[in-house]
């Protein structure tokens, strides 16, 4: 029995006999009637946004949209669904321009094929901001083709035919033809040229920006029918677990499988080669136990006797490493931004304040641990996986098995959470390696939670140091900030000891406060484990340090933190990120996406107003504020906490104000910011991965704690701010995390007078009353 739902295998009409996708790559994308400033046309020479991503954007409707004769519209989703709602949101864009009835829209997930589908890397909060316009054009093209097909059938002027909620209406006569009736004729027409497309005016939108669009996968989820990585099942399938090196760079010296092979159900034990460091996206190697069910594979692994060579990182100890980072943060380092004359301003300052902050490693730990199924037969490998990076997965599987790229198929299931972990295909490559040993059989590699926590691609660990020289009015004339953290780029090449431009550009170099003298430095830090993307990435440490420090400065100046923030922002202005030494700007055009301080002010004022900023609170309660720009979206948070005498922390309310530009699916935007708030609280209050002798000290959720219902704010209110004028889309999935930890710690300070500079908060509030007395 194959328990895949029937629609899982992609057999879209568009695969047969239609045009190959006409790539928008390299072409100037037409400025749509909504959301694109005209300035965009000016920088066509350099690629930005979706055009700059590998394989760029594709807007051929015959790749993405099909209509069956019964009128069912099928939209191909080329991005991975991990809870952000992209299968719903991208499809509703197509459906809106197509003027389709949402009840008759279905979604199929694209397999890995970027030449056909354009870029599929589901990361960086990019899906809607890059794919909104191409998907609109897909929908509008099909609408035009349906109208043309109807005009030809009726032999009437095209201008008299209008698509309207799943049928084309001949306006003078009132005759109608359903989309299903027109599908075959419309499919035979050429796709209209981009510059002939009529995109809807916002006032005509049926779904875009509207509430109440039903989630595509909602009913399957509540009925347990949704198919995640671990739900792909084939008769006779084999189940594997792998004992991996627990130290980065470790490998198997020797192993004895005799006891494991005696476990009922265990079929074979085999070694997976460990490649030299850095590991890139390759599996770590180890010893695999292949069995007839998952439980036998787990028990078999427990019975293995393995002697490990721990390798060069066996000395990685978090306690010592923290001291190294903190010492480096007190010394000059590589200068990445230098405006004005810092030393002079510092020496002439009326007073100075400095502070150091520390944030530990975190593990993404999505609820679905890594899992993948692969089958190898006759020189072909097919895999099913919850992957954020299908194309990269396909490339790495092909490389590792020595197969031509075309002989590898990667099917993308739903993801039981991703948060950046599933951008790395190591777990899929493992399944492919094992599948090759059992030709014709499907093999599922299942990671346990311990595997996930021990062998994540961890969020970086960082020490941040800030020093400000202050004028008499309490505002800074000089600003020194050093960030020290191992870089994700250390995965790819040796000696990568500085943060890369994309890491520095996450809330560090692009700090937008109006301060005349600024020096930003990045001392060296070597990586001793796999550091990877974790939802919001380097914005987490940078945002925490800056937003905590600004609160400290406000208190030193004896000023209200909100008023102080507004003064620091200075006059409303649009800042070219290049003038802040940020050449990256999330891959977006600096003209199209300047940093707009009026939008920072807007979210600050909105969150503060909603929270009743300035009101008097009972003893033990406090309000904290933070604002952070990331993924080209503006977010402010005000958090209200209560700290009990025994140190118990209660988060009463979080007001989150968001300006992410035009809102496509407001309900899913709010849900992302609600979730980011909870995850941000978990990061701040509980989250810590630590190493001893190169090994992670936490095993499962009792040691690596994440937010439970008890930590969630009693109320989370997300306020969507509608921007003034025409601005393009911002990111949604990630920018909600960075302001949470500093808003929380600023609230704790307001409640208790205790400043938390080192995360996690965890036990630091115990005894705060005694300490105060």
């Amino acid at each position: 029995m194959n328990r895949l739902p029937a629609d899982f295998v992609l057999d879209n009409l568009s695969r047969r006999g239609f045009l190959k996708g006409v790539g928008a790559t390299g072409a100037l994308v037409i400025a749509a009637s909504w959301g694109l400033p005209a300035a965009f046309a000016a920088d066509a020479a350099k690629k930005y946004g979706g055009d700059a991503m590998p394989h760029g954007l594709i807007d051929d409707p015959k790749v993405y949209v099909s209509i069956a004769t019964d009128g069912t519209v099928t939209v191909i989703c080329n991005r991975s669904e991990m809870g952000q709602g992209v299968r719903t949101s991208l499809s509703l864009v197509v459906a809106d321009e197509l003027d389709a009835d949402w009840a008759h829209v279905r979604v199929q997930q694209a397999p890995a094929d970027e030449v056909r589908y354009g870029n599929q890397d589901t990361d960086g909060s990019r899906s809607m901001r890059h794919w909104f316009e191409p998907m609109r054009r897909c929908g509008a093209s099909v609408r035009a083709m349906l109208e043309q097909a109807a005009a030809e059938q009726w032999k009437v002027p095209l201008g008299e035919c209008r698509a309207q909620l799943h049928k084309v209406v001949h306006q003078p006569s009132g005759r109608t033809l359903g989309y299903g009736e027109l599908a075959a004729a419309a499919g035979a027409l050429a796709v209209p040229a981009r510059d002939t497309l009529r995109l809807k005016q916002p006032s005509e939108f049926r779904y875009i920006g509207k509430e109440g669009v039903k989630a595509i996968d909602g009913a399957d989820i509540v009925n347990g029918r949704a198919v995640y990585g671990a739900d792909v099942h084939f008769d006779g399938m084999l189940y594997a677990t792998i004992a991996r090196p627990t130290v980065y760079g470790g490998k198997v010296k020797s192993f004895d499988a005799s006891a494991a092979l005696k476990v009922p159900g265990v079929i074979r034990v085999l070694e997976i080669e460990s490649r030299p460091l850095p590991s890139e996206f390759q599996p770590l190697g180890g010893v695999a136990v292949v069995a007839s069910n998952t439980w036998a594979a787990i028990k078999g692994r427990e019975a293995l006797a393995i002697v490990w060579d721990d390798g060069v990182n066996a000395g990685y100890n978090s306690i010592d490493y923290r001291k190294e980072l903190e010492a480096a943060a007190r010394q000059p380092g590589k200068v990445v931004r230098n405006t004005g004359t810092l030393e002079q301003a510092m020496s002439e300052a009326d007073s100075t304040l400095d502070a150091a902050y520390y944030l530990p490693h975190l593990a993404q730990s999505p609820m679905e641990p890594m899992v993948a199924v692969a089958r190898f037969d006759k020189g072909q490998c097919e895999a099913w996986a919850p992957s954020q990076a299908p194309q990269v997965t396909r490339e790495r599987v092909a490389e590792r098995l020595g197969l031509p790229f075309d002989n590898v198929t990667i099917n993308v299931t739903l993801l039981g959470g991703g948060f950046g972990r599933k951008s790395k295909p190591d777990f899929v490559v493992e399944a492919a390696i094992l599948a090759k040993e059992f030709p014709g059989k499907a093999v599922r590699v299942q990671w346990t939670r311990e595997d996930d926590i021990h062998n994540s691609y961890f969020h970086t660990v960082s020490a941040e140091y800030l020093k400000a020289g202050l004028n008499k009015d309490g505002l800074p004339s000089a600003w020194l900030h050093r960030t020290v953290a191992p870089s994700i780029t250390a995965l790819f090449a040796p000696g990568m000891n500085h943060e890369a431009a994309f890491e520095l550009g996450m809330g560090f170099t692009n700090m937008a406060y109006a301060i005349p003298n600024v020096r930003l430095e990045n001392p060296e830090a070597a990586a001793h484990t796999r550091v990877g993307w974790y939802r919001s990435v380097s914005n987490i440490p940078h945002g925490f340090a800056i937003q905590s420090f600004v609160d400290e400065l406000a208190h030193k100046a004896g000023q209200d933190p909100l008023q102080y923030q507004l003064k620091l922002l200075g006059p409303d202005r649009q800042i070219d990120p290049k003038t802040l030494s940020d050449e990256w700007n999330y891959g977006e055009s600096p003209e199209r996406y300047p940093i707009d301080t009026a939008r920072l002010r807007g979210v600050l004022e909105t969150a503060a107003k909603a929270a009743g900023w300035g009101r008097t609170l009972p003893k033990g309660r406090g309000l904290g504020l933070a604002v952070h720009y990331s993924f080209v979206t503006y977010v402010a948070a005000v958090i209200e906490v209560e700290v009990k005498d025994d140190g118990t922390l209660i988060v009463h309310k979080a007001d989150i104000a968001v300006d992410c530009g035009p809102q496509i699916n407001p309900e899913r935007i709010r849900s992302q910011f609600e979730g980011a708030c909870v995850m941000g609280l978990g990061n701040a209050v509980l989250g810590e991965i630590s190493f001893k002798d190169g090994k992670v000290q936490q095993d499962n959720f009792h040691m690596y704690e994440v937010a439970r219902m008890s930590l969630a704010p009693k109320v989370v209110a997300v306020h969507l701010v509608t921007p003034q004028g025409e601005v393009p889309l911002g990111g949604v999935g990630e920018p909600g995390v960075p302001p949470i930890a500093p808003a929380l710690c600023n609230a704790i300070f307001a409640a208790t007078g205790k400043r938390i500079r080192n995360l996690p908060v965890r036990y630091q509030l115990q005894g705060w009353q005694e300490a105060k007395a």
Binding site: M1, R3, G83, G224, H233, M367, G416, A707, S710
Partner: protein
Amino acid sequence: MITLKLNGQDHQLDVTEDMPLLWAIRDVAGYNGTKFGCGMGLCGACTIHIDGAPARSCITPIGAVKGQAVSTIDNLHTDPIGQVVQQAWLDSAVAQCGYCQGGQIMSATALLKTNPNPSDEQIEEAMVGNICRCGTYNRIKTAIRQASTQLQGAKA
């Protein structure tokens, strides 16, 4: 062979008695709604009902439930209270990735069966063992309150 009363049917499963119900249900009986999250009873993704009471299937050996009725999220739509909870989940658009939600719904349904009108504290107490990494807790609370209100109304 072990006989498992699962979702209203007897299943003959060729497994060892120490196999956790989770793996027997998923790998052998073929129901996929029950999810693996931690293997230690810490996250609740694997929550099932044993004779109507919530249990963590990842730490419950199949040998321990002989003769007892096991039910999973896959079959919850046949349960009148379960249906109300599922609908409340849809109405509040609770799910993000959805992976933990089967377990959340099983815990919530078990709560409402024993306590049709739980206070906020009682909701938290019943649900604190179910982790949602996407952070949907506030909507879970909203959905449980809605289901509770509806069930109260139905009874009145």
